[in-house]
């Protein structure tokens, strides 16, 4: 019987055939901690009797949730982690580079066939690099820091085959919102989602990241795109890797096989307060919005900003809307800066912030008051996610966000 992508990765790392459902203590190739979950993980490491981390070169540390420190407690947490990094010889990207997941990808810290864990649920994004990557809690991370391994139940996979060409101003975010609607907020719990098919093969890394990033919104342990020439082209110059064939076998056993044709797919908006409540933009067009956020690990890359700018063209954002734009990383910021996007956004009335999680963190800045409505390119619209529990968050693509920000209400980007 053939193997899924995930079974191939675990089999390769364990040196024997491993099947879904098995529980293995597997070595990890990378472990990411940030300013929110890192302090707890480090304390757990010490409480477990840890003295030296398993391999400082494999520990990835940076701060992105509350940067620059927005409170004395946040400053203390970051100082605590800086000291730990210094003591352990861990390279700390500190507040310089941007959102953890984007930084892991662009520094080449996730590669095909690797097993990566991160103390953040959106760690599943590195599946775009062909890695098995999953989010874990701080106690599990303490264990990883000590031993360099973690027990995993090798997940079954859902095969999501995507075909067709996207229509104008429709893209990967609309696709993943519609997949979330189809699979449901817990439809992939304990499972991995393997994204395959001609649409995925033609999709750039930024779109694959958007899709894998949101696998967790269906409860999935991981999202993954089998590595191909696009993956290896992305890694070139970032990291020297030996190509591996992780294509799923035709006779692999899947928990479910779903097919999606994007040909007739239109823009999707997830309405409050769950990600799987995705509807066609037409159903919610005209709803007044107070704030638009374009950014996050899901949609804060240069291509996302360019998508927003293409819709914006030479127009201005509505004066009735607070528009917050945050590039996902320093590299993405520089690309946007050099291509003139930042100037265009600022001229149009947006606030452009330095790379960080921004309003998606729901605790740093850009919070919503009671009764306010936000439209966001991020990944979660849970009640209270961006501030007041009496506020509403809608999720959408950068194109829909830009169109809506121009008119002060949810707007179909195809009609702009």
């Amino acid at each position: 019987m053939g193997a899924t992508v995930v079974e191939k990765i675990f089999s390769s790392r364990c040196g024997r055939t491993v099947r879904a459902g098995e529980v293995v203590m597997a070595p990890v190739d990378g472990a990411m901690i940030h300013d929110i979950t890192g302090p707890l993980a480090i304390r757990n490491f010490f409480q477990m009797g840890g003295t030296r981390v398993f391999d400082p070169r494999k520990v990835i540390m940076l701060f992105d949730h509350q940067v620059p420190a927005d409170s004395i407690t946040a400053a203390e947490n970051q100082a605590f982690m800086r000291t730990f990094a210094g003591d352990q010889g861990i390279h700390n990207y500190d507040i310089r580079e941007g959102i953890c997941h984007q930084v892991v990808m662009e520094k080449g810290l996730a590669a095909p066939g690797e097993i990566i864990v991160g103390a953040d649920s959106h760690t599943c994004m590195y599946g775009a690099a062909g890695a098995f990557a999953t989010g874990i809690g701080s106690t599990d991370m303490g264990f990883v820091l000590k031993f360099g391994a973690l027990y995993f139940r090798v997940p079954e996979s859902i095969r999501a085959e995507v075909t067709g060409r996207f229509a104008r101003r429709v893209g990967p975010k609309d696709l993943i919102l519609s997949i979330a609607h189809d699979i449901g907020a817990d439809g992939a719990t304990y499972q991995a989602i393997e994204f395959v098919g001609e649409t995925m093969e033609g999709m750039g890394m930024e779109g694959r990241m958007t899709c894998c990033n949101m696998a967790i919104e269906m409860g999935a342990k991981a999202g993954i795109v089998p590595p191909d020439r696009i993956t290896y082209a992305y890694l070139e110059g970032r990291r020297a890797v030996r190509p591996v064939d992780l294509s799923p076998d035709p006779d692999a056993r899947y928990a479910d096989r779903r097919t999606y044709d994007v040909t007739d797919l239109g823009p999707r908006v997830a309405v409050p307060h769950n990600v799987d409540l995705a509807v066609p933009v037409e159903d919610v067009a005209g709803i007044r919005i107070d704030q638009v956020f374009i950014g996050s690990c899901t949609n804060g890359r240069f291509e996302d900003l360019a998508e927003a700018a293409e819709v914006l063209a030479d127009n201005r954002f509505s004066d009735g809307v607070r528009v917050i734009i945050i590039p996902a990383s320093r590299d993405e910021y520089l690309k946007a800066l050099r291509s003139g996007l930042i100037e265009r956004f600022v001229s149009a009335g947006a606030l452009v912030e330095a790379p960080c999680c921004g309003p998606c963190m729901g605790g740093a800045f850009g919070l919503l008051g009671p009764g306010e409505v936000s439209l966001s390119t991020s990944n979660r619209n849970f009640r209270g996610r961006q501030g007041s529990t009496e506020a509403k968050v809608y999720l959408c693509s950068p194109a829909t966000a830009a169109a809506s920000a121009m008119y002060g209400e949810i707007t179909d980007p195809r009609e702009v």
């Binding site: 790392r13 364990c14 040196g15 024997r16 491993v18 529980v23 293995v24 203590m25 597997a26 070595p27 929110i36 979950t37 302090p39 707890l40 304390r43 757990n44 409480q47 477990m48 009797g49 398993f54 509350q66 409170s71 407690t73 946040a74 103390a119 953040d120 649920s121 989010g135 874990i136 809690g137 701080s138 106690t139 599990d140 303490g142 264990f143 000590k146 031993f147 360099g148 391994a149 027990y151 139940r153 907020a185 817990d186 719990t189 304990y190 409860g219 342990k221 769950n274 963190m361 729901g362 605790g363 919070l367 979660r380 849970f382 009640r383 209270g384 996610r385 007041s388 529990t389 009496e390």
Partner: protein, 165 residues
Amino acid sequence: MRVWKFSNNIDTDAIIPGRYLIHNDPCVLARHAFEGTRNEFAGQVREGDVIVAGRNFGCGSSREHAPLALTGAGIRIIIARSFARIFYRNAVNVGILPLVCEQADEIPDGSEITVDIEGSSVETGGKWYPVEPVPGFMQDIISAGGLVAYARDLEEIETCTGSQR
């Protein structure tokens, strides 16, 4: 043991809002548990109370502050129709027992509940409901008193590629 009943898809932002994640002390976090979602919880919850919920309890962020806030509030057992994966592991790791109960929806808010862990069942209002025991590989961690206690005694571990450390 009083039941605190919650619906489907209770996310970790609801359990502990993002603005309190700068704290790591379970007792401090407990003061803000379910703030904005169920404001009376933090003030009225008592040691040993039980949370009962629908599907997908603990979805969203991997923040371990969520189960920690609940331990600070005195919660030792959560019964749900299903759990989000990361929360489930985190709960076990910090010493909360997550029990899957297909009929959790039938258990009313505010009721008194008795949990028979060895018998894998819970009782409320004279009615018994079966619960699924935690998977075998997690029993060792629970028996040790959580992952920290489990790992403290280990010098090295056996991985699928050989011993490590």
